[in-house]
Amino acid sequence: MGNASSMLTQYDIEEVQEHCNNLFTQQEIVSLYKRFCQLDRNAKGFISADEFLSVPEFALNPLSQRLLKMVDGLNFKDFVAFLSAFSNKASIQQKIELIFKVYDINSNGKVSFNDMLSVLRDLSGSFMSEKQREQVLSGVLEEAGYTIDSFLFLDDFIKVIGNSGLKMEVDVHVD
């Protein structure tokens, strides 16, 4: 593990930093690399779904399967780019973009009633009936001026979530 930073050259670090729009410092990138190597057990260059799930805290997250689709098989550069949305330097827009991507699982640029229902299902499990979920969702949608047939785009997400105290930050511990 002590060899991790020696495998990452200064040039590599700068390339990764550029790729994530300087949202992480160089030290944070080195730290993330150590973590990446720790999770990527056979040094394949990417972390498999199974290796992500070996982190119990991640495995018991209700949205783990959705997130796995987004992070499975990423190389280090893209891994950092994914996590950059959680940097305290990232803009609210970037954070909302990530939230949008989690909903828009088929990446067609729009979120349907079913997509939102699907996320709600992941979050509430068996503790809400399907009918209750549909009821709640259609209720709040209409309240906000949409219908169950509406498609929500990134701009809608930005409008709805707005700036109201969105807290989505993680600290990268630097040795």
């Binding site: 119990p56 959680f86 989690v102 499990g125 503790f127 809400m128 906000a144």
Partner: protein
């Protein structure tokens, strides 16, 4: 920054989903999944479970031009002189052991009491040879374990050498995972004579058989004292994972034993995912020394009104404090399997209840 505080409790409270309690439910509240995403990202970046199994080799000190030749000299001494001497010591130890153990085991079949006494002594002797082969410096604190019925010893687990270190002073019977290879061979021949119990952690039925054997063992007054490693797996000697309650629901006295290795000399953690036991022993035998402290702590009993799980946690606390280890709220077996869905369900339940409650606030 205290990165090791156990966070599973706050993980599961309503605070982790910061929806205001008495306001009408809006679309925004459903779309804003930022708390859940933050937790997931936090887990990806660092988590208290993986930290427990990270090897921590001693700090590198050979980084400049003056120290490097000194280090090279050290390598030559360690691999060229110390290692062969140690292998010799170990071989002598095995020869002495086998030449005494085999006759004792087969010839004294009738004379149980004498045979057991001799076998105990011989195993203790062999373990001393093992410890000498790593230049082990073990400091024991506290009263030496005695052979009495209705007691078990529990210790934190860093490597299989924990067993050897403790066995050197007292011939314990241990309950262990059955290993393949030469280790398994030793397990089924020599260690069997001590009354050790084997199980396979991947088989659920084995656990019940093991539990039964445990209770039978502690009833016998002449059986070797039973040693259990309730963590169930090797941890890196900086943390303790949750203790399994098996040892604590036998209805007998539990004697805690704390073991702490001095990291300056060698990292004694056996990272079974990274290396075999043979490689691990090789690494120990090519280090300068293995220095550790063993504390035999005050025997504990189940307090009135205390559940076995609480008892296990209390003893874990005692051991962790004594050995300077941090506690994490994870089950060691998560190394081999996924967390049970009930943790996810708990979070889902909290979320669902909060949404339904706010729905009523019209």
């Amino acid at each position: 920054m205290d990165i090791d505080r156990p966070n599973i409790e706050e993980y599961l409270t309503p605070d982790s989903i910061h929806t205001p309690l008495h306001q009408k439910l809006l679309l925004r509240d459903l779309l804003d999944i930022s708390p859940v995403l933050t937790e997931a990202a936090g887990a990806i970046i660092d988590d208290s479970f993986t930290r427990c199994f990270k090897s921590n080799p001693p700090e590198r000190w050979n980084w400049n031009i003056y120290l490097f030749p000194l280090w090279c000299f050290g390598v030559v001494v360690r691999y060229g002189i110390l290692f062969p001497v140690r292998v010799l010591v170990l071989t002598i130890g095995w020869i002495i052991f086998l030449s005494s153990f085999v006759p004792v085991h087969f010839l004294l079949k009738g004379n149980n009491k004498w045979r057991r006494k001799l076998e105990r002594y011989l195993v203790e002797l062999l373990c001393s040879f093992f410890v000498a082969s790593w230049t082990g410096v073990v400091k024991y604190h506290g009263p030496r374990p005695s052979i009495r019925p209705q007691q078990v010893f529990v210790a934190n687990h860093t490597s299989m050498i924990d067993f050897i270190v403790l066995e050197q002073m007292t011939a314990f019977a241990v309950i262990m995972q059955k290993h393949p290879g030469w280790v398994g061979l030793i397990q089924s021949t020599i260690l069997d004579s001590l009354g050790c119990i084997w199980f396979n952690r991947t088989e659920a039925a084995d656990r019940e058989t093991a539990a039964r054997k445990l209770s039978e063992h502690i009833k016998g007054s002449d059986n070797n004292p039973l040693l259990i490693f309730p963590e169930g797996t090797c941890v890196n000697n900086q943390y303790t994972v949750m203790f399994k309650k098996g040892a604590f629901e036998l209805g007998c006295t539990v004697c805690p034993v704390a073991i702490k290795y001095n990291k300056i000399f060698v990292d004694a953690f056996w990272n079974s995912r990274q290396q075999s036991f043979t490689m691990h022993l090789f690494r120990l035998m090519t280090s300068w020394a293995v220095v550790c402290d063993v504390w035999y702590l005050e025997p504990q009993n189940l307090k009135p009104g205390e559940t076995p799980i609480e008892f296990a946690e209390r003893v874990r606390d005692i051991i962790s404090v004594r050995a300077g280890l941090k506690k994490v709220p994870w089950d060691g077996y998560l190394k081999y399997s996924r967390p049970s869905p009930k943790h996810t369900e708990q979070k889902q339940q909290i979320f669902a209840e909060s949404v339904l409650r706010r729905l009523e606030e019209k």
